[in-house]
Amino acid sequence: MIAPDSSPWLEPDALVDRALHLWRAARAGVEGDRFDLFLKIARRRRAHREPGSDRTSTSETLECGLAMRRARRGGTLASFAACSGLSNEALDWVLGAVTREGAGVLSDMPAPGSVVEPLRADLDAGHELPTAEQLESWMTDRKQVAWVESGGTHEVVVGHEGWVALRGRYRSWAMTDGGKEGPRLFAARGLAPPDLADWGGEPGSDGSPGSPSTAVVVAPAAAAAVISSLVRAMQAGDIATGMPVGAGWCVADDPRHPDGLSGGMFDDAGFETRRTILADGRQAVGILSGAGTFRRASFRDPPACAASTLVVFPDAPIKVGPHIPIVARCRVLPVSPGEWVLDFGSGASSDHPAIARITPEALVERCVGTAGPPVVCADGVITPGLVFKGIEIAQ
């Protein structure tokens, strides 16, 4: 009898066995084409507060699924499909879908010679999920928390030649209602609920940039969104390699960072990962490309070159005086590939939002320093506060 909240494939060894079983079945159906399989199984437990009351309720989740890429002979692209479940039926469905149609995703897969070990395992130490009662108890004293969740995920990549890469992660998350600043997500490695301590105290009195000649500090949680947008702009070529950047724009993608929430020893296509310096505080020096940089947004998405754990180095610290405004939120709205609108939210002294129009190139040039220690943000970016100078707010 199968327990309702468990699966025979929750244990890493069992998941690898299952993956190899499905790989053998798939190999018979691909007529010699190169292919890979990606399997995921996750177990999560959550407590959340009912809207408008102190009542809490809990949930248990067991999510699993698989995805397949099939590369066409002589081509550079692959077909892709994904399905919930780890059953033979799920495999039949994805096999049928990648055979009949589906095209255009990257087909990069490690060559047989580049995979030394038959099994590569990158596993967090094993833990037990907190009980529902423990999660509810943690929320009791934290009225600002809307929900808290802990969970573990195992993922397996099986390559065409039958090599296996196995990853296991344990993480916890919490969402606060946040009041004026809106909802805020917190994350932590391991299964203990995350620390809700904020960075650097309260935002400045106005919470928006002042005149163009003055500096503004964008707090880490707000900076993380700016950093991700800037790196996407670099990937898209909107910030070309060699362009000058400010002293604070010193950033790398480091999938093996010990404090990282995602990433690890291998990427989502099975290649070994590496650290990539993207900007060194003087100029943009590189982009993410090729082996070691493939990432799946979820198992339902094909791998694509994308950042794993972006790290901003506090190499240009600036002492933040009390007169410098600290921005607790910043939304990036791309108007066109060459221009963004930065929305810093409502200023206390104005009846319209503090908004600046700026190009991505100008923004990296105006990142003149960093403030405070690095913080691991919920979206995986590790950054101190960023200091910008010369951002002009529309009046």
């Binding site: 309702p4 949930s59 409502s346 009046q395």
Partner: protein, 448 residues
């Protein structure tokens, strides 16, 4: 693999009814939800790019004392989920089908990428190899079968579908760039719309001459093209009247002094209409249209079972989840402004100066303050009652107190889904529709 058929449906129906029985005696929110959904995403371009991914999502959510979510359960596992959700020693239950049997599903047709490529080649024939013209098409289509069971009630089954197409045209000539987006929502059996590529390319060329103002905030009159003001009422009125937002006291429309709205404004939320309609919600409640605003006053709130219970009201059938992995929230389906009596041409001719908004995207909404920021991605200047020149993208701010109250013209040309999007709340995306006629607001704040 199970295929749609009477045996598979019967065993699924029986399994859901049995699982729901295990939840008897719990509160009204207890239910079993099962979904099987296929999504196809296609991206095509006139430079030969062609990408297609097909995904299938199937799983169940059982809501009892606790909620249990599970991917791809067999029928036996569905029954066990109900036992866990009930949180007590449930009576012995028997599996109605073979152990491990999967519930039935619906399928999207095959060959969609080929059909889409053939359509694009035909519709874009005049522009396909034109120098300086890039055409990119995104097509998103889904089919979903939903089963819902509640204790001692027959299991309900509903098929849902959505189909959306977006054409982005970028034209370059003599160092100038113009970009335009055309969107359509289609029914499950609708053919691809011909003429949409040409309209996007023409608009992109018109936008070569886009101008930018001095970069200052100013208060200006605004005319919203048909359907576009639907985005505004979705954000500022629809979200403010979702039951959980109201329960948290986070809605400007229901807290403090109730704001005055224009007497002529009628806003309706009708989940039976739009690009992804539903007749039963994800808790098994019959969905019904709700008049949110009429005669200048708030007249309705959208509820799921939980928020209805807290408010002492009945569920309106708006309880939705993005997938079996998510919890139910009251959600918007198709929100629209009822048509008025004004002639759209007269509205324009009666506007000495202002902006004519053709496409907007919501950027930030503060339901508690009743203020929203939008990014206008396509607009024209109005001078002496005529459209004069296109404007570069700019942000606008609309608030309930001043901007919506300044609504002084409502056209008789109600249209839906010229500006198509998904709505994301608490990380849950749901396909939504909006509709509106031509509408004029006497004052909005625009960063021109």
């Amino acid at each position: 693999m199970s295929v749609p058929g009477s045996h598979a449906h019967d065993s699924t129906r029986e399994a859901i009814a049995l699982a729901a029985e295990a939840l008897s005696g719990l509160d009204a929110s207890a239910h079993v939800f099962l979904e099987d959904r296929e999504d196809v995403r296609i991206r095509l371009a006139n430079d030969g790019a062609r990408e297609c991914t097909r995904t299938r999502s199937r799983g169940a959510s059982v809501v009892g004392r606790t909620t249990v979510h599970r991917s791809d359960p067999g029928i036996d596992e569905l029954l066990l989920m109900a036992v866990l959700a009930a949180g007590r020693g449930a009576p012995p239950i028997r599996a109605p089908g073979p152990i491990g049997e999967r519930p039935a599903m619906s399928r999207l047709p095959e060959g969609l990428p080929d059909q889409a490529a053939a359509w694009l080649a035909a519709d874009a024939a005049d522009h396909f190899e034109e120098p300086g013209v890039r055409i990119e098409v995104r097509i998103v289509r889904f089919n979903q079968t939903v089963w819902v069971g509640r204790p001692f009630e027959p299991a309900l089954r509903e098929g849902r579908a959505g189909h959306r197409i977006e054409v982005r045209a970028t034209c370059r000539a003599a160092g100038r760039v113009g970009e335009a987006i055309a969107e359509r929502a289609l029914g499950p059996t609708d053919p691809f719309p011909y003429g949409i590529v040409d309209s996007a390319v023409r608009r992109a060329r018109e936008r070569f001459g886009s101008r930018r103002g001095p970069g200052r905030w100013s208060a200006v009159p605004a005319i919203f093209a048909p359907s576009i003001a639907g985005v505004v009422v979705h954000e500022l009125i629809g979200h403010s009247l979702e039951g959980d937002i109201v329960a948290r006291g986070a809605s400007r429309l229901t807290t403090f002094r109730e704001p005055r709205l224009p007497r002529e404004l009628t806003v309706v939320e009708d989940p039976h209409r739009g690009r992804a309609p539903w007749t039963i919600d994800d808790e098994g409640t019959s969905a019904r249209p709700v008049v949110l605003v009429e005669g200048g006053r708030v007249t309705g709130v959208l509820h799921d079972v939980t928020t209805a219970r807290a408010a002492g009201a009945e569920s309106t059938g708006h309880g939705r989840r993005a997938s079996y992995l998510d919890r139910v929230l009251p959600r918007l389906g198709c929100t629209f402004v009822a048509g008025g009596h004004d002639d759209p041409r007269s509205i324009l001719e009666g506007t000495p100066t202002g902006v004519f908004l053709r496409r907007i995207v919501a950027a930030n909404v503060d339901a508690a303050a009743g203020v929203a920021t939008f990014l206008v991605t396509d607009a024209d200047a109005i001078e002496q009652g005529r459209l004069t020149y296109p404007l570069e993208p700019f942000p606008i701010v609309i608030d309930i107190e001043e901007s919506l109250r300044s609504m002084d013209a409502i056209g008789d040309d109600l249209e839906f889904d010229r500006c198509v999007g998904s709505c994301v709340r608490d990380g849950q995306p749901v396909a939504v529709s909006v509709g509106a006629p031509t509408i004029r607001l006497g004052v909005i704040k625009a960063l021109l």
